[in-house]
Subunit: 361 residues, 2 copies
Amino acid sequence: MSNFTEVPTFEGPQCPLPLTHAERIVLGHGSGGRMTHDLIRTVFRAYLGNPYLNAGNDFARLPLPLQGQEVGHLAVSTDTHVISPLFFPGGDIGRLAVCGTVNDISMSGAIPLYLTAGFVLEEGLSLEVLERIVRSMQSAAEEAGVTLVAGDTKVVEKGKGDGVFINTTGIGWIPPDRSPLGGERAQPGDVVLLSGPIGDHGIAVLSARGELGFEAEVQSDVAPLNHLIQALLQAAPHTHVLRDPTRGGLATTLNEIAQQSQVAIRIDEATIPIRPVVRAACEMLGLDPLYIANEGKVVAIVPPGEAEAALAAMRQAPYGAESVRIGYVENQPTGRVILRTILGTHHILDILSGEMLPRIC
Amino acid sequence: MSNFTEVPTFEGPQCPLPLTHAERIVLGHGSGGRMTHDLIRTVFRAYLGNPYLNAGNDFARLPLPLQGQEVGHLAVSTDTHVISPLFFPGGDIGRLAVCGTVNDISMSGAIPLYLTAGFVLEEGLSLEVLERIVRSMQSAAEEAGVTLVAGDTKVVEKGKGDGVFINTTGIGWIPPDRSPLGGERAQPGDVVLLSGPIGDHGIAVLSARGELGFEAEVQSDVAPLNHLIQALLQAAPHTHVLRDPTRGGLATTLNEIAQQSQVAIRIDEATIPIRPVVRAACEMLGLDPLYIANEGKVVAIVPPGEAEAALAAMRQAPYGAESVRIGYVENQPTGRVILRTILGTHHILDILSGEMLPRIC
């Protein structure tokens, strides 16, 4: 969830708007929430906008220049990983870099095939650390069944980087008979599914940073979801939307979809799985788990007739055992996400604004 | 020239060798020369190696999973740009990021189609600077005829980055009737062509850094070469090798090709164009222009029967007006580049070892 293409809507003029934030980059511009969207709209899309970038998904669905041949499409996605620290319970920047991009590609319905990796190394980085990261990338790539086909290494002076940054870009293939997926395809009546408990990744990283004040027994959920997605699409071939709730969390992801599709999404707080340790950590720190990043979860929006089959397939698949139904799609109020709380009240869930947890991915 | 795949040969064991450099990353690991190759061999290829990565080119040539259909191949390349300063005579990091990847893709014979961009922004960066860079990317993409289809933005704390780093990854299409190109295809008798004067980019960047001690009237050659390459391949369809002499310069690029193809390459110093200001700057600073990075030049190795046509086509094409013939390919001594100096002596040109100009791209 970190692509330019994730901006939900852009109905303003095609030239840059006056910037409403300070005239300098702040950490909030990397949050994945409203400030990121503003930056994308006023700077990136203002100059670079085109139908692929503007489509509003975490992947681009691209034709090949072949006339009269049914060869399908390419799916492409890119993500730079700047997570701190490099190692955390359940994963590391290498596993994250592979899984993050495999997952974004998979959300298009594509079979992920190829990855590239671009490293920015800080002078003084231990080679043993680099080796551990590269080994972890290899192991994640093997699990996902993708091949790392091209790479690049740059080195910057000490104090001009932070250990390692890794860009991964992925290429997948969308078979010609696959029904297109995208954040703009949610329809009233659709069912909203979630592949398991939220908030694990964010809290695991905070724990590794020593910011919890206690030792939380929680592991990041970072995992490649492509096998789960393929199983889901086999069971529910008319699935409308798949998206992984990474930066900005579940609430931001659902808002993006509601706005892209111009529908309302209603979810029921009682049905959303959250591990007790994650809930406790959030309460202590004043964080809302609905806005915390996940790295191994998917939201699926499927037609009602395929919902049961989809859920059953997800529960059988790797990383999907705890899948649940969390809500449904309605006509009104368009572009909104409404949460039914455990107390039975309803409130509008907004997109994340500003920064909650910097450098979480 | 910054892909993992550029390592000329690797005949050692498949497990990591003991590291011969310090156990920490130093700037030389980013030089594009011997230390970069060592790092790639001992860390990246040891774990991530596969036929695509090991092919030894700046691009990967990839099949699509389509049986019995003649659809050609994909070409993929990735590059992260960490150049300092962000703006320099003749260009900026945005133009560089687009052209660098367009050029690597083009060296496969592919038609570049799509680019992705991943930004790492340092907290405190001026938005006006970011806008200038993004505008420059758009203008270079338009010139090259490629579309930026996906992007990502991350922000790191002040002092954990350096203004802007930009990863660009490119995807091109190699038509099925195109004869394959690669550093391993140079053959004895082939002619070596160069598209113009060397060293402009490196000296322009040094000048922008104030490291020359005088105001050099030299502009970086940063430019998209895809139109030149297409013209060249139309005139010389059996071209064997195309490579852009970026990090490590012309000498390193020719060494890579000589080693990949197991041939000798002989070049004649008197034929290699170098602008007087570049020559003067190099003499003053004790630099050898043969090792200085270029960002808008290509080395073409073509069969003798097509050399005249290739040269004529290059001279007519954008950025190729000063193209020249600089040498030829022989059987022996394999893996070596031999320079005939202006004095008439011969010496072996080695690959760049260590670091000459850090953060030149």
